[in-house]
């Protein structure tokens, strides 16, 4: 008995030794230096773009009223940033984008879940989903108005039709590549159909789903920019409207200014998605901290 304990004890020691040996690793660089490492190249890039732009303007190839220079544009943008209207427009657009996108995610999730798990639905509607993705927003306008009249809902309808296919496709791709081994493991552990979905399939498809979300956001945003012209609601300025009006009025600084706002929003959203993605992959050990 004593002898056995000794053997076992030494076995445990050896196991612990092996474990300790396997688990070493060095830490990454600190947060501050990581953020700075991301920010400075961006700033440099922006600087370079500005310089190039100014040079084109200075070349005199086009008059200022055709292609506004950075100085005029930023004066215009700055003036706008000082008005309450700008922030209302921004708020309106972001509200629509976020709610529309949220609905699109919900619908994409349901459709994607159904299509990915039911083989007949898949064969019937799988390609239709991508087909819908290629449908330009303006084609939906008449139907949006038929169904919802001149209301916010009509805008949301267009946004959802733009974004939901991407979301669904992302989920479908994720489900497709759920490792069969995990499904078998789930089954052995006694998970039912719904539990399997909740505990195995959904989490396993998260990375691909996230990529679908990102694409969906881009589609949602573009659809929104178009849709905001369809229904102009009293006392609600919006970015889409501003973009359109700037073009309508041949207002070059206004147009470029609005484009800059759109770009900045796009970049910020991308950074959000990216950090979600990075966090996810790190947590799952898909991306080793290098």
């Amino acid at each position: 008995m004593a002898a056995e304990t000794a053997v076992r004890g030494s076995g445990a020691d050896q196991l612990a030794g092996l474990d300790a040996l396997e688990l070493a690793g060095t830490g990454g660089p600190g947060l501050l230096s990581r953020v700075w490492g991301r920010v400075w190249p961006m700033l440099t890039a922006v600087g370079l773009v500005l310089v190039a732009w100014q040079l084109v303007v200075l070349s005199g190839r086009w008059p200022e009223y055709v292609l506004a220079g950075p100085i005029t544009t930023f004066q215009e943008l700055w003036a706008r940033l000082g008005t309450a209207e700008f922030y209302q427009a921004l708020a309106t657009t972001m509200r629509r984008a976020v709610t529309g996108f949220a609905l699109a995610v919900l619908i994409g999730l349901i459709v994607g879940a159904a299509v990915s798990r039911v083989r007949i639905l898949r064969a019937a509607f799988g390609s239709l989903i991508t087909g819908l993705q290629t449908m330009p927003s303006i084609a939906w306008f008449p139907f949006a108005i038929l169904l919802f009249g001149l209301t916010e809902s009509a805008i949301q309808f267009v946004v959802i039709l733009g974004a939901a296919p991407s979301v669904a496709n992302g989920l479908i791709a994720g489900v497709d590549y759920t490792p069969p081994l995990l499904l078998r493991a789930g089954k052995v552990l006694g998970l039912g159909r719904l539990q399997m979905y909740r505990h195995v399939i959904l989490p396993a498809s998260l990375p691909s789903f996230l990529a679908g979300l990102k694409q969906g956001w881009a589609f949602a945003w573009r659809s929104l920019m178009a849709g905001e012209l369809m229904v102009i609601i009293a006392y609600q300025a919006s970015l889409g409207e501003q973009l359109h009006i700037a073009r309508e009025l041949s207002d070059s600084p206004g147009l470029i200014g609005t484009m800059i706002v759109i770009l900045v929003i796009g970049v910020v959203i991308d950074l959000l998605f990216e950090s979600a993605d990075t966090a996810l992959r790190r947590r799952w050990g898909l991306r080793q901290p290098q």
Partner: protein
């Protein structure tokens, strides 16, 4: 870049690049191109290159970038282009069409006062029709604001959408140009409440005119003259033989869009538009004035936007009356 492709230094251009819309208010251009009237006046050595647009901004972008030399266009984009370029980019060199704008409402609306609390569509915030509606409502004691509030709710939307929303009852009326006004009447049983001509002195106001790129015009006065000669002949054709002209216009529209107008829409629209070489300068300045008054435009100096010298020379050569530029 496409800038200035058709011009060389000493006015030795080989082509004229003209823009217009496949639209009944642009009938002058449609007829001029279809009947070869421009080509006839430009002569053998010069070719006519046409571009069609479906809205003003693209046409102005094309003028600004030098991709076209002249275009038929409505009053608003012209004022914008003038204001944005501080009078450097364009000139209005001739009128093309007048009239053909109506307030069409649901049949149960019988008077201005019935409009209270109703939704009325216009093609675009701050365009001529939008300004005209607001100014008219204001004169009738109805308050509006640019955000869609007030006694009458003004909803700017594309004309095509207006057709639909009127049919589904989402709006109660619309202040729109032809052929949309006629379609509202013919297809959706709308009723004409106001003929915009009645609001203007001499029942005349500009709906389409011809603008040119200043840089091109100054380098190619000879080509400009020929272009205007063609334009004048096209206008005369439209007035001399409206029936045949209507057919030509519809044929041209069909060629460009694969969809002709329905005969009843065509007839009604054609009757409601006057084709004239007169750009009706007074209506443009008055309209700009109204826009300032309803708070849609910063005061803009339109002095010099017209250059009717060549037009008047052409008219004079035919023994016709000259046209005033204010």
């Amino acid at each position: 870049g496409g800038g200035g492709g058709g011009t060389s230094a000493e006015g030795g251009a080989k082509e004229v690049r003209l823009g217009y819309f496949p639209n009944i208010t642009h009938a002058t251009a449609l007829v001029g191109v279809e009947k070869g009237l421009f080509a006839k006046h430009l002569g053998n050595g010069v070719s006519l290159k046409t571009s069609t647009f479906n809205a003003g901004p693209a046409a102005i972008e094309a003028v600004f970038s030098g991709a076209i030399d002249a275009t038929y266009i409505g009053p608003n984009p012209a004022i914008n282009a003038w204001a944005k370029s501080k009078g450097k980019a364009i000139k209005i060199v001739a009128g093309a069409a007048s009239g053909g704008v109506y307030l069409v409402t649901k049949p149960e609306i019988a008077s201005v006062q019935d409009l209270k609390g109703k939704k009325i569509a216009t093609p675009q915030l701050g365009n001529t029709q939008d300004v005209a509606l607001r100014y008219w409502l204001k004169q009738n004691g109805l308050h509006t604001d640019t955000k869609g509030g007030g006694d009458v709710h003004i909803v700017p939307q594309e004309n095509s959408q207006t057709l639909q929303t009127f049919a589904t009852g989402d709006i109660d009326g619309a202040w729109v140009p032809e052929p949309f006004a006629s379609r509202l009447v013919v297809e959706s049983k709308g009723r004409v409440l106001v003929d915009e001509r009645d609001l203007w002195p001499g029942r005349q106001f500009v709906i389409t005119h011809l603008i040119v790129r200043q840089e091109w015009a100054s380098r190619n006065p000879g080509l400009l003259r020929k272009l205007i000669e063609g334009h004048v002949e096209a206008t005369r054709y439209l007035n001399d033989d409206p029936k045949a002209a209507a057919g030509t216009v519809n044929a041209a529209i069909q060629k460009l869009t694969q969809k002709p107008l329905k005969p009843e829409v065509l007839d009604s629209a054609f009757k409601n538009i006057t084709f004239t070489d007169d750009p009706i300068a007074s209506s443009l300045t008055a309209s700009a004035q109204h826009a300032v008054e309803v708070g849609l435009l910063e005061p803009v100096n339109l002095d010099g936007i017209y250059d009717l010298k060549i037009l008047n020379e052409v008219l004079a050569a035919q023994g016709r009356q000259s046209i005033k530029d204010r």
